[in-house]
Symmetry: C2
Subunit: 132 residues, 2 copies
């Protein structure tokens, strides 16, 4: 990246803008679900893996590490035996999490409308295929 | 999917819940940017491709088709020569777009905080590697 790129205003529509990568971290398949879960409370790794259905250990670890490096997630390794690691949101992470949490709840709430739209779309496509 | 799954309350944390797939469409790399762009105005395909930097013709077409089928995007093919196709948001799409637009702008606004967090993270990792 050139100096002139760094000095430009962040713009997710610009291919090389670093803000686009941050947006991708926040909206990644597992990033969304991890942030939304952590908005409700802090979690240990294994608890979080149970909460977010279908995430592999590797993908969850990668997601948490990315979110930690971006300053969204705080990793708290307690010096106890057996080791205990808690994950929670930072202030910055909470700002992101509130938004993706709302988006996740919206998706659940509007699922019926999406299903209805798909039925119309599929019926139209079928009709076009038959008449075409 | 079994009947019992269909009758359960939508929950993006459940691996097989269809709401998760809808959330993935809305938050997909190109889905986010397309929805956010369309919130500002309607676009022709080629205009939208210029607006969303780096998207291939194929990925943009796929993204628009997915968003159209879900009921978020309206495709208006005008019977003119040369053919003209406009893409705009539906009411449902606008609800989603307002949220991802806000998230995109937030990411741009908070990019400096993310960069600062990464510097701290990387410095700590470097220190750990040297002392370890």
């Amino acid at each position: 990246m050139s100096v002139s790129d760094l000095s430009r205003k962040p713009d997710v529509n610009r291919q090389m803008c670093p803000s686009r990568l941050v947006l991708e971290h926040v909206t990644s398949r597992w990033g969304v679900l991890v942030l939304a879960a952590l908005l409700e409370r802090s979690y240990r790794f294994s608890e979080l893996r149970r909460e977010v259905g279908g995430v592999s250990e590797k993908m969850l670890a990668q997601t948490l590490q990315t979110l930690e490096r971006d300053g969204f997630v705080h990793r708290d390794a307690k010096p106890v035996i057996p080791p205990r690691v808690d994950y929670s949101l930072t202030g910055l992470g909470r700002e992101a999490a509130e938004q993706v949490w709302a988006l996740a709840r919206w998706t659940e709430r509007r699922l019926d409308a999406v299903h209805a739209a798909r039925e119309v779309y599929d019926a139209e496509k079928k009709e076009q295929a038959q008449s075409g």
